[in-house]
């Protein structure tokens, strides 16, 4: 049977992708940030997933204004790397797990989450930057990926409670898949940042760290935080953080099991316009 073994949370700042793609990670600006991922890279090489269910948002690349799914699942065998306007990132194409994705789609829709099914989904920095942060620059990614795209671009985005509930549904779907697979749930985006208007550049270190505390210890309470608090405290784009609740909802303690172990926690300001947060939670042995 497939099982959720861990969840990983990280910002997906495009500039961190550029820094890796152009070999700048050793520069003084970037060194402290990438140092914060070294422990996670060691951990994941010792605890490799077969599949990552990667919760992210598209940034007006595959998904514009023609159709805007609140939740979409990528069911394809392969996902090309999007050209976001600067040309595609020089990273491997993303290989899906069409069998698990088909199973998840059926299971999750039957749990009353009306997923949009995406068979053609170019993936942007929201999905590829987390892979690069965790795996570096391999010739091919060491695991399959099932993308779960969440609308956080056109308001209203799904509520925290809805995101946590989707995570629970993902867990049930994965655990009812017959193949023997170790599966990670990753939540990406955030932390505090605002990319528009005169208030752009907003960073809220205290709020971000309280979010990390509560994500570990009080996810159900955190899921009740209203959208307006994210916008006010973490900036208009900080609302991406609701996606972390999807991954958190997939952990055992939200299905009556023991709490996860905190493997690694990291926070850094700045990466370009953004605060970077990172957390690795592993299921209790």
């Amino acid at each position: 049977m497939a099982r959720i073994t861990a969840s990983v949370y990280t910002s997906h700042v495009p500039a961190t992708g550029v820094a890796m793609d152009r070999g700048r990670t050793g520069e003084p600006y970037w060194r402290p940030l990438f140092a914060g991922y070294e422990a996670s890279r060691e951990w994941i090489s010792a605890n490799p997933p077969d599949v990552v269910v990667l919760v992210y948002n598209d940034h007006a690349n595959a998904i514009g204004l023609d159709m805007i799914p609140t939740f979409a699942i990528g069911t394809a065998a392969r996902f090309p790397v999007a050209d976001e306007g600067w040309g595609p990132r020089p990273v491997p194409e993303v290989v899906g797990h069409a069998g698990l994705a088909a199973h998840m789609t059926q299971s999750i829709i039957q749990q009353d989450f009306d997923l949009t099914i995406a068979n053609r989904l170019p993936v942007d920095h929201g999905l590829t930057v987390p892979l690069s942060l965790m795996f570096g620059q391999p010739d091919r990614w060491p695991c399959a990926v099932v993308p779960v795209a969440v609308n956080v671009i056109q308001y209203p985005v799904p509520s925290g409670r809805r995101c946590l509930g989707l995570g629970r549904a993902i867990r049930r779907a994965v655990e009812s898949f017959d193949d023997d697979l170790d599966v990670h749930a990753w939540g990406t985006g955030g932390m505090s940042h605002q990319l528009q208007g005169p208030r752009a550049g907003l960073i809220n270190r205290a709020w971000d760290n309280a979010f990390l505390d509560r994500l570990v210890a009080d996810p159900e309470g955190l899921a009740c935080v209203p959208h307006v608090e994210y916008v006010r405290e973490a900036g208009s784009e900080g609302i991406e953080l609701v996606m972390w609740l999807v991954a958190r909802g997939a952990m055992a303690d939200l299905a009556g099991g023991p709490p996860p172990q905190v493997v690694h926690r990291f926070y850094h300001v700045p990466a370009s316009n953004t605060a970077v947060g990172h957390l690795v939670l592993q299921e209790a042995a």
Binding site: P14, A15, V18, H59, A60, N61, G64, L65, D83, E84, G85, W86, G87, I153, Q154, Y155, P156, S192, Q194, L195, Q196, G197, P198, R199, A200, G201, L202, I203, N204, R205, W207, P226, H227, V228, V231, R232, E233, G235, S236, E237, V269, P270, S272, N273, A275
Partner: protein, 132 residues
């Protein structure tokens, strides 16, 4: 009864909601067209002519020509779509974002290195609610 928009009073911030998306649809569709290299080339070769091909208001076209992103946000632009104008010119997100703030680009860069813009004083419209 109108939509409840508790976020509308947050200073210096425009939430891209259904109303903004409605007024900005043509502008944002123009921006999305810049994902194709051949369209980026055509736009940069003759911006005015390229803009005239799109169903946009004259204000929106002028905002693009002026690279006035705060104006374009007010006219329904979404930042991830507007960023494609800057991307066509090879600008980074930091360069694009810093064009909207009161600081110069260098000052903005320094502010971010020093920990970013504080939320203090920026949570509520003046006179609306006291800072905690």
């Amino acid at each position: 009864m109108g939509l409840d928009k508790p976020y509308a009073e947050i200073p210096g911030t425009t939430v891209f909601d259904a109303d903004q998306a409605r007024i900005g649809y043509g502008l944002n569709q123009f921006c999305m067209s810049l994902m194709r290299p051949e369209n980026r080339e055509r736009f940069l070769a003759d911006e005015r002519a390229y803009l005239d091909e799109w169903d946009m208001t004259e204000d929106q076209r002028q905002g693009v020509l002026d690279r006035d992103l705060n104006r374009l946000i007010a006219l329904g632009g979404n930042i991830y779509m507007l960023a494609k104008i800057g991307a066509s010119e090879g600008k980074s997100y930091l360069e694009i974002v810093s064009s909207m703030v009161p600081e110069s680009e260098d000052e903005y860069r320094e502010m971010m290195l020093a920990g970013g813009r504080s939320p203090e004083g920026g949570r509520h419209a003046a006179g609306r609610a006291p800072e905690a």
